[in-house]
């Protein structure tokens, strides 16, 4: 277990290094000169050169990248070109918003998705199954940002019971963005939950439980659901990793001040240190989630040894 974990962690470091190298390389190759963008349109060539020198942008690629890595290893991701704020503290300051949105979105996703999926496979009614698969098809097809806009229109404007975006109104402002994320991801959970429960229902231990005279409801609740939900754990953990890196689009729709919005602004301003920071942070979340999945899996299912 320990050696496995160490191997996974080591590999994750390689993945992160590669991600940083790739992003840094794209940033290095940017046609737009960051020094000129900082200096402003009216700056002289001399000013631009001096800013360029100050930031080390006149150095060769490997020197720049090496210096970035050296600082990053000490937890210093540099300062934003745009706001001159420290990158890492800025990301951490936005993190609670992204965390709240991720957890809220996941809660809706799992609750809606799993109940639709389990209902479809559990009731064995054609009508219910048909409704469930229609739901899956619709959630997979409806673009999340469009759904978000429509929900904003209906519940923020037409029947103004919820805030029109932003996070100023407190926890209630989380409801619509989280619901949008949840609905647009619920289809996968429903599909997976349905397939998983159908598979579990064919297992020997279900037949054994039935043969022992356990009531159908109890078989479903105690034996089938518990095992059918297992694959969903993997999905939830992986999704959490992705969502913690910031929901770029949904945060845009709702003006949510999370890491997605931060990353998006950084991209628009070609604010390289902030882009590096947000990309690495997102990649870190995904990588950690992947490791967690393996650990949680071995814990939930003792037959699997990692």
């Amino acid at each position: 277990m320990l050696t496995f974990l160490m191997r996974r962690v080591a590999w994750s470091v390689v993945v992160l290094l590669f991600a940083s190298l790739l992003t840094f390389f794209i940033g290095y190759k940017v046609p737009a000169n960051p020094a000129r963008m900082i200096a402003g349109p009216n700056a002289t060539a001399e000013t631009v050169r001096s800013i360029s020198h100050q930031l080390g942008l006149d150095q060769p690629f490997y020197v720049q990248y090496g210096r970035f890595l050296g600082h990053a290893a000490q937890g210093d991701l540099g300062r934003s070109y745009k706001t001159e704020q420290q990158v890492l503290p800025t990301i951490l300051q936005r993190f609670p918003y992204t965390l709240a949105l991720a957890l809220g979105g996941l809660a809706f996703e799992v609750l809606i998705g799993a109940s639709v999926g389990l209902l479809a496979a559990g009731t064995k009614l054609r009508a219910v199954d048909g409704l469930a698969s229609t739901f899956v098809l619709l959630t997979l097809a409806v673009p999340s940002f469009w759904l978000g806009i429509i929900l904003l229109y209906v519940f923020g404007f037409k029947y103004p019971i919820l805030p029109l975006g932003g996070a100023e109104a407190g926890p209630i402002s989380l409801l619509l963005p989280a619901l949008t994320l949840g609905l647009s991801g619920a289809g996968y959970y429903a599909r997976m939950g349905r397939a998983s429960l159908l598979e579990v229902m064919g297992e020997d231990y279900i037949r054994t439980a039935r043969a022992k005279g356990v009531s159908p409801g109890r078989v479903m609740l105690k034996h089938a659901f518990k095992n059918a939900l297992r694959p969903l754990i993997t999905m939830t953990a992986l999704d959490l990793g992705v969502l913690l890196g910031g929901a770029l689009i949904i945060e845009q729709v709702f003006g949510w001040p999370g890491i997605g919005t931060l990353a998006w602004q950084a991209v628009q301003n070609i604010d390289l240190p902030m882009i590096m920071g947000t990309v690495l942070f997102s990649a870190l979340c995904i990588v950690v989630a992947n490791i967690l999945v393996d650990v949680v899996y071995s814990w939930v299912d003792p037959r699997i040894t990692v």
Partner: protein, 302 residues
């Protein structure tokens, strides 16, 4: 007919080839047929856009705005209403369909080609190529793809060519893994061994024996990946790094319209319906192909 003769239907008597059997299975799924019909309709819209659009999508009609300068709701003249500049929404949607689907088709083609080449290298040859390529997909899967695409599109001047290259360049790894896994099993089959024993070259084995075997999988995953691509293109355009105005596409039309949501919600609703319906039909088509071609895995291409 003789009463003693065993009652065999025509189809049972005639030896049927695999593709007509697959078509038979495809035809029996109502969802798949609906998906195919809508897809065909979308292709017609793309090809015949100039003839189907009643107005010029770029012209700002003076009578396309109300007296107060607001967009018009659907009228006899402008079927889906007009946008904030007095342009005909219906005509823009027709041309927007063309842009959106063209980008999605081309970038999906790029993604599928990269996946085919790398998946074949990894799965058929194995060894170092396999290790390198699979490790590369590991890295890219851990990457915030949308952010990467946004970054690339922003630093390279936003434009249709860049969008196609970027989306194609980040969309191949899932399919590459599928192709690799399939080839890993195909290359150990007897007919491949036999071909090799007869002295066939690697190229001949790959193109004549191995790849034709996995064509079904590639087609299915490519179709399912296509609907993801369509959504991805729209999302990029929605946040402003995809297709640039005045060229219409579903994503930037939704973004434009959302600024006037409270006065003219149809500007958001119509493009969203086009987008959603297209994705739905490609998904139905992909699912139908999967069942018809009997591709085992039910996993959705991401």
């Amino acid at each position: 007919m003789n009463a003693d003769a065993p009652s065999l239907s025509r189809s049972q008597l005639k030896p049927r080839n695999a593709s007509s059997a697959a078509w038979g299975r495809f035809r029996r799924q109502p969802g798949a047929v609906v998906g195919l019909l809508i897809t065909a309709l979308l292709i017609v819209i793309c090809v015949f856009a100039p003839w189907l659009a009643p107005h010029d999508p770029a012209v700002q009609y003076p009578n396309g705005l109300s007296e107060l300068g607001a967009p018009l709701p659907p009228t006899h003249m402008f079927w889906f209403g007009t946008d904030a500049l007095g342009r005909d929404l219906y005509s823009r949607l027709i041309f927007g369909t063309r842009t959106s689907l063209l980008i999605a088709v081309l970038s999906n083609l790029i993604a599928t080609s990269i996946a085919l080449v790398l998946g074949t290298l990894a799965g058929y040859f194995g060894g170092l190529a396999d290790t390198l390529i699979m490790r590369l997909t590991d890295v890219l899967i851990s990457f915030p793809v949308l952010l990467l695409a946004a970054f690339l599109a922003a630093v390279l001047r936003p434009g249709i060519g860049v969008i196609i290259a970027v989306i194609g360049g980040v969309g191949w790894f899932y399919l590459a893994r599928v192709i690799r896994a399939e080839l890993l099993s195909v290359r150990r089959r007897e007919y491949v061994e036999a071909a090799r024993a007869l002295g066939a070259s690697d190229a001949r084995i790959i193109f004549r024996h191995a790849l034709p075997q996995i064509l079904g999988q590639v087609l299915v995953y490519s179709t399912l990946n296509f609907s993801t691509t369509v959504l991805f293109v729209a999302a990029l355009s929605y946040v402003g790094i995809g297709v640039q105005p005045p060229t219409p596409d579903w994503g930037n039309m939704i973004a434009d319209g959302s600024q006037y949501l409270t006065v003219s919600p149809w500007l958001v609703i119509f493009p969203g319906i086009f987008l959603g319906l297209s994705v739905l039909s490609f998904n139905l088509l992909g699912d139908g192909l999967r069942d018809a071609l009997d591709v085992k895995s039910g996993k959705k291409a991401i």
